[in-house]
């Protein structure tokens, strides 16, 4: 029974506030640590020079973009199954942040690709394509919710869409990968930093957790706004 105590938007409201506060502090600390390691501790890469340092934003952002979508889909499923209002609100709160990280992943990926592969964009790369489609899936979710006036219908319609999308992501990834290997067009690999030095890995992980804490903080703030807006 304790689980459902916090399922009420009113009781969750102050909890969200304190989670947001602590996550924000954690995010700042982790980001400071991550950036320090990334710029001052990790050595220069033998092949890519300083350009590889984009990895400390690119990979964490990409991981977060996918993690947030999965979490969003989980909240959506919970909302449909348990009929709790807050679950739908959580899904709606996560979407913009997820879309933002997806865009950052694509942008930093393009800027990393230019000096290293020689091109900003590569249609043949499975991960790039999947990330682009993930961005469209986020946009579709947000557009659908924006188009529906009734919040309950918006939550549940978005939930169905998010669940259909989460099933499709692996399919999209594998179909593009298959398509690419058969096409023998692009032979570039996204894992351009093969064996990672310990420090590079540390920097990447720190930034990942920093982004994770940031995402939690921002989505908690947003869910508070949603709770207030719906007058729940």
């Amino acid at each position: 029974m304790r689980w459902f105590w916090y399922a009420s938007p009113q009781t969750f409201f102050p909890v969200a506030g304190s989670i947001a506060r602590w996550s924000a502090i954690a995010a700042a600390l982790l980001a400071a640590a991550g950036l320090y390691v990334g710029f001052f501790v990790a050595p220069t890469d033998a092949q890519q020079g300083e350009a590889y340092r984009i990895i400390f934003i690119h990979v964490p952002a990409a991981w977060m973009s996918m993690l947030i979508y999965v979490v969003m889909a989980l909240w959506a499923a919970a909302g449909l199954a348990l009929n709790t209002r807050l679950s739908g609100m959580m899904a709606s709160a996560l979407a913009p942040t997820g879309a933002l990280f997806t865009f950052i992943a694509l942008w930093t990926g393009a800027l990393w690709g230019r000096p290293t592969w020689g091109t900003y964009w590569e249609w043949g790369d499975a991960r790039l394509m999947s990330e682009l489609l993930l961005l469209f899936l986020y946009f579709g979710f947000m557009a659908l919710q924006a188009a529906i006036d009734d919040p309950r219908r918006a939550d549940r319609a978005g939930a169905v869409l998010a669940l259909v999308g989460v099933v499709n992501i692996p399919i999209i990834y594998f179909s593009v990968q298959w398509w690419n290997t058969l096409h023998q067009g692009a032979s570039v690999s996204l894992t351009a930093a093969p064996k990672m030095a310990q420090t590079m890995l540390a920097g990447m992980l720190l930034m990942t957790f920093a982004f994770w804490a940031y995402a939690i903080a921002v989505s908690m703030l947003r869910v508070r706004c949603i709770i207030r807006e719906r007058g729940a």
């Binding site: 020079g49 350009a51 952002a61």
Partner: protein
């Protein structure tokens, strides 16, 4: 120091990435605070 900013002639790419990321994240927070103020009032 200037070496740090030059990033081995990759300055545009590295700082373009970090810069845009920072701006977008800051923008998200700013917009969220604006939304929060609007709903409080």
């Amino acid at each position: 120091m200037s070496e740090f900013f030059a990033m081995g002639e990759y300055a545009w790419y590295v700082w373009g990435s970090y810069g845009v990321t920072f701006v977008l994240l800051a923008l998200e927070v700013v917009l969220l605070r604006k939304r929060s103020h609007e709903t409080k009032a």
